[in-house]
């Protein structure tokens, strides 16, 4: 194991530095509340990666340099398997959550190109899943997109009814990236298994935060969401359903994913998995994350006009999605950023035309409320003081924006 340090010991070491654009805040005092987008790498991860830079062989090479590199990958595979409680042989390293989800979905489609069929997903999936499903639909498959309730959850009964004899795959996420809402994974995967249909779970947001129940099928995670590096992930394969390769070449990853391995990334993922396993086994850390998340949620909820969109139960405590009445989330996020608080709007708004989040709309929220939704997300590095400061700055920002706007409507 790379990391025998507990999370407590690592805290503070990795303080995020605030660039000069984030005015009014001193360096080292940025308030990072966008951990669902990505997380800082832990010192133990950095150390493992820097050390691995000494070992440069190609893991496929039979000579001594190759053996050393292959050893690094083997170790990371064991660490990953320990985190996900699967066999090391079931771990397939890839380039991240998007590739993981796409490879299972597109791969399943391509494996059934001749006989066609049907796929099932939910209305609140990440674009990696939704767009891969959309592509497979273009190939001639039918697709059922299951609705969710007000908490963003799929009803297992609805899944049961949607399953057909020609269903090739069910792909439903574990924790939602925008709200933190957890799906009833056990019941959903059981329904698929009982119908004999492979199940894919996008667990990108859960890995490292919650123990994930055994999934009889495919499960995708991504290192950078739990303090590992970006651009590396894992799909576990616990099914006999053949996983059609999409990246061809050598017989790496037990002939399931070709290409010279991202050795440094995989080492980083392994170290992040080790640290995550320590956290998951640490009852104090589990209490702490609940407290931090609860404090953030309560603080944000107390701001004038705030209404929390993340469900109160069955939700990652780290994620608080909150709408501010009458305000635009993209504006709030930009102002917060300028004040050294990194948060994100539920919607991917790169343009002058922010679109309301498909997740919040699927939960039945109005477009206006969806456009006012800001996501704050913590990690194991987030402190109580940071929460309090971020809440204070958010409150101030919201009041100021209200002041700028107030009475225009009556002008």
């Amino acid at each position: 194991m790379h990391s025998q340090t507990t999370c407590e010991q690592e805290k503070g070491v990795n303080d995020v530095t605030c660039p000069p654009t984030a005015r009014g805040r001193e360096p080292g005092r940025a308030l990072y509340f966008d951990n669902n987008a990505t997380t800082p790498i832990l010192p133990s991860v950095r150390a493992a990666m820097c050390e691995a830079m000494e070992t440069f062989g190609n893991p496929s090479s039979v000579h001594f340099c190759g053996e050393a590199a292959a050893g690094l990958i083997d170790r990371a595979r064991v660490s990953t398997a320990a985190l996900l409680r699967c066999d090391p042989e079931q771990v397939v390293f890839n380039s991240g959550g998007s590739e993981g989800a796409s490879s299972v979905i597109v791969g399943t489609g391509l494996a059934h190109l001749r006989d066609g069929g049907h796929g099932i997903t939910s209305a609140v999936e990440h674009p990696a899943v939704l767009r891969a499903c959309g592509f497979v639909r273009e190939l001639g498959f039918e697709l059922s997109v299951l609705p969710v309730d007000g908490a963003g959850r799929v009803d297992p009964g609805t899944l049961q009814k949607a399953l057909r004899p020609d269903t090739r795959l069910v792909s439903i996420m574990h924790a939602n990236n925008e709200t933190g809402a957890l799906q009833p994974l056990d019941a959903l995967s059981r329904a698929a298994r009982e119908a004999g249909v492979p199940f894919h779970c996008d667990a990108v947001q859960t890995a490292g935060k919650e123990r994930i129940g055994l999934v009889e099928g495919f499960l995708t995670i991504s290192a950078h969401k739990f303090h590992g590096p970006k651009g590396v992930g894992v799909t576990t394969v616990r099914t006999d359903a053949p996983l059609q390769k999409l990246v061809f070449g050598g017989d790496q990853e037990h002939d399931r994913r070709a290409g010279t391995e991202n050795v440094l990334g995989i080492v980083g993922l392994g170290a992040a998995a080790d640290a995550a396993s320590v956290r998951l086994d640490d009852p104090k850390e589990q209490i702490r994350r609940g407290e931090i998340g609860g404090r953030l949620r309560a603080g944000l909820a107390s701001i004038d006009g705030a209404v929390v969109n993340s469900p109160a139960e069955g939700c990652l405590p780290e994620t608080v999605n909150v709408s501010f009445e009458g305000l635009r989330a993209d504006t709030i996020v930009d102002v917060l950023s300028a004040r050294g608080v990194a948060a994100s709007s539920g919607s991917a708004c790169h343009s002058a035309h922010p679109e309301p989040s498909h997740v919040l709309l699927a939960m039945g929220l109005s477009a206006e409320r969806a456009l006012g939704a800001v996501r704050f997300s913590c990690s194991c590095l987030t402190t109580r003081d940071e929460v309090d400061e971020a809440v204070a700055i958010s409150g101030e920002t919201v009041r100021q924006l209200h002041a700028m706007w107030r009475s225009v409507g009556t002008a």
Binding site: T21, D334, Q400, M404, S407, V408, A411
Partner: protein, 126 residues
Amino acid sequence: MARFSDEIVEHFTHPKNVGELPEPDADASVVDPVCGGQVHLTVRMGDGRICEARFVAYGCAAALGTASIVAEWVVGMGPEDLASLDEAAVTQRVGGLAPGQSHCARLAMEVLHALADDLRTGKGSE
């Protein structure tokens, strides 16, 4: 380049002259139906020039910052000055706009021109 100029950041984090002047000498209100931005400017005149201005605004951060800059900028101007300002002038004054933010310059220009009209028609505030 950064998404926002230092000037715009300064103004949307510390907006100046927010509000509405009671019984202003002139005012102007514009809405950009495309981006959803809105600006309302109220001014008080002295000696044929603007001596005080207030704004309220709704929209993206760049639009808010631009509106705050504009409310500061117009002080000392007369109707002809306002009418002569175009998008390029606004863009320069705010320290530059990133791609996708040019609507902010248009919005500002429109409110400046509307204010000039309001001053020239002598209509004043209603």
